[in-house]
Subunit: 307 residues, 2 copies
């Protein structure tokens, strides 16, 4: 079944201990869409400027991604510059130029209204909520957010939490939303605010999915997926969005949501994140095939599998 992602398309300047790259295609929606495209058909709603060329669009369309929902506005595309020092878990922002993204009002093409799965990448929570309300036929909605919205728009975020089925955030964001320093307790508090499931991404330590009691009819025991020890993380940018793309894309490909599907989805999330960081920007996500992905899924499985 198909999935729609609503979020940012950007051009990034990135510097890491492994090198640097300028004006590379990025943004949450781009990473998500590329990662999810190996599992299911993907549709994108985003906004870009005059500097977004046919070549940039082809990065997505050659992966079969439906780009009809990418609006062309007058001006420049969102630009972000950041660098990483030895702590690759944390990006330091050098600059943010919102450009056409500042006035982004997601417009859902009529042809997209039948999409069964929806991912609301990190944008203003009010926009996230209104997109969800427009998409009546959606079976499952995933969402992301960030510290900025947690601090600045807690009320709008609380509304958003009521309309997502699965929230995908990191440890720090979970603790911030819950005002609670113990992670499992913080997870329960976030679940009490709305989502049926909460995926907490632990960076190099993998991810945990927590369930609200009775959610999806599958009990409430959490489940963990490891991440792969990687000797050279070239560029961590987009790892979280690629994780979300693998996670949601796999679920959409299965059509039904049960415990085993969610467990495998968590592993596929880690797999796509691990590919993303091997090269700068979206380079690695453009050149994969499903066999490579499934081979790495087996490596992830072996990493924690007892006979």
């Amino acid at each position: 079944m198909s999935i729609l992602v609503v979020g940012s398309v950007a051009f990034d300047n990135i510097a890491t201990p492994s090198g640097r790259a300028e004006n590379v295609l990025g943004g949450a929606a781009t990473y998500f869409a590329l990662a999810a495209s190996y599992f299911t058909s993907v549709r994108v709603v985003a906004v870009v400027g005059d500097d977004f060329t046919a070549g940039h669009e082809y990065v997505m369309t050659k992966r079969g991604i439906d780009t009809r929902g990418i609006e062309r506005a007058t001006g420049k595309t969102f630009r972000w510059g950041g660098h990483y020092t030895d702590n690759l878990n944390e990006a330091k922002t050098d600059f943010t130029e919102l450009n056409v993204f500042e006035q982004f009002q997601p417009k859902i093409p009529k042809e997209y209204l039948d999409t069964e799965f929806l991912f609301l990448a990190n944008i203003h929570p009010t926009l996230q909520t209104s997109v969800r309300q427009e998409m009546n036929g959606v079976r499952m909605t995933g969402g992301d957010t960030m510290n900025y919205w947690i601090n600045k728009t807690p009320r709008e975020l609380a509304e958003m939490l009521r309309i997502v089925n699965v929230l995908l955030i990191n440890d720090t964001e979970t603790k911030m939303i819950a005002h609670e320093s113990n992670l499992p307790r913080a997870a329960q508090k976030v679940l009490a605010m709305g989502p049926q499931a909460l995926v907490i991404k632990h960076g190099e330590y993998g991810a945990t999915i927590f369930f609200r009691q009775g959610a999806f009819g599958i009990g409430h025991h959490p489940f963990r997926a490891p991440s792969l020890p990687i000797e050279e993380v070239r560029d961590p940018t987009g790892a979280g969005d690629s994780f979300a793309g693998g996670f949601m894309g796999y679920i959409a490909s299965q059509g039904e949501v049960n415990r085993e599907v969610l467990k495998r989805a968590l592993f596929y999330g880690g797999v796509m994140g691990s590919f993303a960081v091997e090269r700068f920007g979206t380079e690695r996500l453009q050149s994969l095939d499903r066999d490579e992905i499934d081979a790495r899924f087996q490596v992830f499985r072996e990493l924690t599998h007892l006979e």
Copy 2:
């Protein structure tokens, strides 16, 4: 097969967000011995003072632990006081009174010389090395260390690394020894210094075992075990030593060292660590039975197990 632990026995004052405890029996050797005692027969070499009573000794002997190697010296037992704030991963030391531990010279009783498995808890690396040299018949040696020795006695530590088969340390210690911020690369550097295997304890995120190429004839792919999301960590003191006790104790109980044994040992390490933190001091480790331990092992297994 039996295992010998050489390390500290102490009385601890502990304060955590869940409460406080004073003069509770602790020390690395105590936590290790209690945790390992559920798997195999355990012998202890340590030093205590006049304040170590028959009641304290009975905590160990009622678990079947052989305490003949605990030397009685004139003076007071090692005392440590520490507290934890919201970040339960890091103890703040309030005081350290080494007392009789300051002059600790491990004396191995003759009856212990045939012990097959050895664990060198965190003491001066030169003492660790000399214990290993005395124990000719040992089949496998595990060891621990800490930032103090990494900084103050790097040469002595380097010698110790050549005599241990498995080193069990945390992320920060691994990066400090290797002078390398990428964890998998740091692990390879530490392995190049001597150990065949390196267990890195990630606290609430579980643990990873890295292997030197060809070690134990089992290839070099790392393996990860999760830790359990715990809503109330009452007292993290001794979690790492309890982990080591579960890990080494399980290996000793199996007699042979192969990949599957090491994998299960990593899970049992996590299991014993998870019990240790449920109560203050060694309380929980005193009152377990093997059924409870194996039930939790299954919970850990389910936590990452794909059908």
